[in-house]
């Protein structure tokens, strides 16, 4: 694919003579550009190919956009010359609601942000409140949180791998295998928390309930048995597959400096070779006690982003097994730290953790009342999406679909 010739906007010298003085790519997305009169195909003359430019709108209801999300693309033949993400179809007023709710009542709402990784959302919010109110979780709770958080990461990455391959057009099989494993993990989580997706399990200074030894043993048995087999199988099925390599290697390259400037975080950033993982940088919770590697990519292409997830899952399994080995006895909830009726002293706090998708942060201001004065979410999906256009310019339309898939977004988090 010839990036150089297509990524710059084609000249429109001849178009000046055209009757209607339309801008070359009037994308009819109201906040991002002027609306076109017809609303349908917009034609402009392209010097180089004497072809037509086609504006197409992907989504907001299409499986390829992973939710209610719309991409407006201008195509020159098959090549994307302009692309605008359009957000906001799922807006639920999350942040404003957060300011009218008590601190505890926000926990179930955070489940709904990134509904594929509720556990880590709970954790990030609870972490921020603990910072604000000066609560220290108990030792056993910290270990259990690491176990659950890493399990959440695995569940998220399993989904991503499946959906990404589905975006590639592998029909169904890898997705089915991925969802099968996810179901098995959800069975375990349902037994523990009572719900399959909206766990509402973290409390300030602890967890809602303790975890039984039997449950942990079954989780261990699963991770070492069926799940290890899944990882090997998926590796054999995909990692060396010629079609996958041809489709993903060299597409959607993300340069490290662009990624850093745009605030890109998570596995996508590490695929570009930037060694930045909040678990290592911030050492929140007890991550400094575990021995694990942060995988890094080289090229920053779609393949590297895919591989990052595969490698991270193996690392997460390692962390979980270590945490289970070292799990201390003791109370899971500090009896002094109460969840209900929490009134932190006036002040502010920003708590962030490494979510499966990147840095998830909660910024809270307290004025001493039972609900936050200001409640703000820094969602990884939203910030990662902002450079979608840079990744897609010069790629074919089919590639933009997998590039979007490899960014790993959940729209609940994008449109809070």
């Amino acid at each position: 694919m010839n990036n150089a010739s297509t990524s710059s906007a084609p000249t429109t010298a001849n178009a000046t003579e055209a009757e209607a003085p339309v801008s070359p790519f009037p994308l009819h997305s109201s906040p991002f550009g002027p609306s076109s009169a017809s609303g349908a195909t917009v034609r402009a003359v392209n010097d180089e190919f004497h072809g037509d430019l086609l504006e197409i709108s992907l989504g907001p209801h299409h499986p390829s956009t992973h939710g209610v999300f719309r991409m407006n693309a201008a195509l020159d033949g098959e090549i994307v010359t302009k692309l605008k993400p359009v957000f906001g179809y799922l807006h639920r007023n999350h942040e404003k609601l957060g300011e009218t709710n008590s601190y505890l009542a926000n926990v179930p709402y955070t489940d709904r942000l990134d509904y594929l990784a509720s556990l880590t959302n709970n954790w990030a919010y609870v972490h921020a409140v603990e910072k604000l109110a000066g609560i220290t979780p108990t030792e056993r709770c910290e270990y259990l949180r690491v176990i659950l958080g890493e399990l959440g990461r695995i569940i998220n990455h399993v989904c991503l791998v499946g959906f990404l391959l589905n975006d590639l057009g592998t029909s169904f099989t890898p997705l089915l295998y991925s969802l099968r494993e996810r179901e098995r993990m959800l069975d375990l989580l349902e037994e523990l928390t009572g719900a399959r997706m909206m766990y509402n399990f973290f409390r300030f200074g602890g967890l809602r309930t303790d975890v039984s030894a039997d449950w942990l043993a079954r989780l261990k048995h699963y991770l070492e048995g069926l799940f290890a087999r899944y990882l090997d199988e998926q590796d054999a099925l995909l990692t060396g597959n010629e079609i996958l390599l041809a489709r993903t290697q060299g597409t959607g390259i993300l340069k490290p400096d662009l990624a850093i400037n745009a605030g890109f975080t998570g596995p996508g950033l590490r695929a570009s070779g930037v060694d930045y993982d909040i678990r290592k940088v911030d050492k929140y919770s007890i991550y400094d006690r575990f021995d694990f590697r942060v995988p890094l990519g080289e090229h920053g292409d779609t393949y590297d982003r895919f591989m990052m997830r595969m490698l991270e899952m193996r690392e997460s399994v390692k962390i979980i097994l270590q945490a289970m080995r070292d799990l201390p006895d003791g109370p899971v909830n500090d009896p002094k730290a109460k969840s209900r009726g929490l009134r932190p002293k006036a002040g502010e706090a920003y708590g962030r953790i490494e979510c499966p998708k990147g840095e998830l942060g909660f910024y809270l201001i307290s004025d001493g009342t039972p609900n936050p004065y200001r409640y703000r979410v820094r969602p990884p999906s939203f910030i990662n999406l902002t450079i979608l256009e840079d990744l897609c310019l010069g790629q074919t339309l089919a590639d933009t679909i997998i590039i979007l898939g490899s960014i790993d977004i959940v729209l609940g988090e994008v449109d809070r």
């Binding site: 179930p108 709402y109 349902e190 037994e191 509402n200 054999a236 995909l238 010629e242 390599l245 209900r340």
Partner: protein, 225 residues
């Protein structure tokens, strides 16, 4: 080598396909309406109200303290306490509605209730023809016997029952002590009439009922429990 990855892929899918006929471990689906998944005891969908004994109205444990109403994040619980003929608030709900179309099954009401009177159900087939009224569950629909709770979540139900029995025993002991104190106070009052007020104030602190006054016992506020 070109093509090897694809062949490998075929091999793995074939293995999975054939394997699913032989190993149950590879089978993960159920033929739903006929076969149902066994729900774990902790599984939760919507709340219901627990009643003891046979009467779904009088047996309700709920005292209409409205704590759950206040704590519910999407505010989908509506409670109006019962009033007697004189208009005095009674410890019973006249209206207790939960809007199932708003409820998000978060279990915070269950955690908040100090009287163990609201618990999580595990029903999931609640389809109705209209989105509004039929999903607004009233007190009658929400009341379910304690035996039902034992059925769906035996572990928690037994724990709750023992705790409630313990509390009841303690309350009875306290009542007995209060009655004894009252008798002593009454005896003292009979002996020396002006000495009563100081003692009465003391006993009132430990006992739920104000000791010497002839007024009816004040209902204990939930906060003191």
């Amino acid at each position: 080598m070109l093509g090897l990855g694809i062949l490998k892929g075929f091999y793995i899918t074939a293995k999975n396909l054939v394997g699913s006929y032989f190993t149950t471990e590879r089978l993960t689906t159920l033929e739903y309406p006929e076969v149902r998944a066994k729900l774990p005891p902790a599984s939760r969908s919507f709340p219901f109200l627990v009643y003891d004994g046979d009467n779904p109205v009088d047996g309700l444990r709920c005292v209409a303290c409205r704590i759950c109403e206040k704590e519910c994040p999407p505010q989908c619980i509506y409670i109006v306490p019962e009033r007697d003929e004189k208009g005095k608030v009674m410890k019973k709900p006249r209206i207790f509605d939960i809007d199932y179309s708003v409820c998000m099954g978060c279990q915070i009401c269950v955690e908040a209730c100090p009287f163990d009177s609201i618990k999580m159900d595990n029903i999931y087939e609640i389809a109705v023809r209209n989105r509004y009224e039929p999903l607004l569950m009233h007190r009658e629909q929400l009341s379910k016997p304690n035996t039902y709770f034992h059925e769906i979540n035996p572990v928690d139900a037994i724990e709750v029952d023992t705790r409630l029995a313990e509390e009841k025993r303690k309350a009875e002991e306290r009542a007995k002590a209060a009655a004894a104190a009252k008798a002593v106070a009454a005896a003292k009052a009979a002996a020396a009439t002006p000495a009563a007020p100081a003692d009465a104030a003391q006993t009132a602190k430990s006992a739920p009922a104000p000791a010497p006054a002839p007024t009816p016992a004040k209902p204990t506020t939930p906060e003191t429990k």
